[in-house]
């Protein structure tokens, strides 16, 4: 998403602003077509790629979609299910049938209690925003150690980069495990120094990635880490 325009001059648009002719182009997110003109519907940076005009919002709420990988925290426990905070408008529901363990009715709390953090995937979202999560899948598990950072959800793609390039650089630089959830939460696990550096790095990427060359930024951060060591 954003990484394609990193360092380039971007135009800030506000809701209702005409952002250009719609002829021969497609409307992406944050844009609607009216009278052969694209109108921005959100505050954000205008982006045009592959004839699709869209707005990278400055602020946005997490809207879960089926298949999303999320870092979730247990908000409530019932006899046969968990309600999970997924950093969105609505809580996600994890039924015991979709947990990775064999759970007896009434024993859900023995496996996960309020405050526990898990890596889960969105199984299903209906039109009324009912979200069902699953922990059945490769790598989906309870996260027993490490740190969780919450970032603006619209900036998550900057952390990942094209084909996860940025994420891989971060992992290698600090020799830590880093999982980026689509819901704006990043889980980091490694040495204390590694976690500290990774937290700083992800926040730097999220907050300044739109106006700085991300490669340069990563190089600077890596040099800082080497200097510290």
């Amino acid at each position: 998403m954003s990484q394609g325009q990193s360092g380039a001059e971007q135009r800030l648009v506000t809701p209702g602003m005409a952002v250009g002719p719609s002829t021969g182009k497609r409307a992406g997110s944050g844009v609607v077509a009216a009278n052969d003109t694209f109108i921005a519907t959100q505050l954000g940076w205008l982006r045009e790629r592959n004839s699709t005009v869209s707005v990278d919002p400055i602020n946005a709420a997490y809207m879960p979609r089926s298949g999303d990988l999320v870092v979730a925290t247990v908000a409530e426990v019932r006899n046969n299910l968990w309600f999970m905070n997924i950093n969105g408008s609505f809580q996600g529901l994890l039924p015991m049938s979709l947990a990775p363990w064999k759970v007896e009715f009434g024993a859900a709390r023995q496996h996960m209690d309020v405050g526990d953090v898990v890596l889960a995937r969105v199984q299903e979202v209906d039109e009324c925003h009912n979200v069902v999560l699953t922990m059945k899948g490769v790598g989906l598990r309870r996260l027993n150690q490490g740190a969780v950072e919450t970032l603006p959800v619209q900036h998550i793609d900057r952390i990942r980069g094209e084909n996860n390039e940025n994420l891989q650089r971060l992992r290698e630089a600090c020799d830590s495990r880093i999982m980026v959830g689509d819901n704006g939460r990043v889980w980091i696990d490694g040495s204390l120094a590694g976690i500290r550096w990774a937290r700083k790095a992800v926040h730097a990427l999220a907050s300044t990635g739109h106006r700085t060359d991300i490669n340069e930024l990563l190089t600077t951060l890596e040099n800082e880490l080497k200097g510290d060591a």
Binding site: L12, T14, P15, G16, M17, A18, G30, V32, I39, T41, Q42, L43, G44, W45, P57, I58, N59, A60, A61, S89, F90, Q91, E127, C128, H129, Q154, S207, T208, H210, R211
Partner: protein, 243 residues
Amino acid sequence: MMGGYGDVQLLRDDGLRLDGRKIDEMRPVSIEAGVLPAADGSAMVTHGLNVAVAAVYGPMEAHPRKIQRQDRAVIDVRYNMAPFSTSDRIRPGFNRRSREISKVTAEALESVVLVERYPRSKIRVEIEILAAEAGTRCVGITAAAVALADAGIPMRDLIVGVASGKVEDTVVLDLDKAEDNYGQADLPVGILPNTGEIAFLQMDGDLSPDEFNLAMEYNFKAAKEIHEIMVDALRRRYEGGEA
């Protein structure tokens, strides 16, 4: 007719108003976006002696469940005047006037926010009037629009609240306190400046069709000016570096 104080002079002999403004001149307006760190979006609007702060929270799950709409979000507006906002202390809490203004503001905002994007959700808008002169509902709407944009809520357009009225048989733009209290008419409107649509309109007092048209002409002109200040406020907040 409003007021009933026909002996109060509101226009000077030189044709200017008591505060020295021309009849089609607005009070000074300044807007700042993102003033409250705890809110998802916020704005402070100073319009003459009016000061309004708006905060937006959400979209969030609508509670209680009976207010949920399966096909769209509801906008929950709470307009409140601080007890110290006027020269006479206002009793804290909701009253009939604040309920009415909350309702009309919510309806005006619902017409611009793309509420169908967030079924079963609620977007909470808190408008606090810290200092009141006249036209606080318009200032509140303007502040709410900037706060909604700041929160990243999708909207068809920004909405601008502005008012005109009539004093001493003359149509004037942007009534101040004396003109509001002793004038003959007040016409607050919510305008979508890019499309020219009207999202809300109220009228207190009597205006002839010609006077009404002139008042609306003044309102549209003022809405364009305020809209530029709104956009500038959002640019200042984000083009400076954040995001």
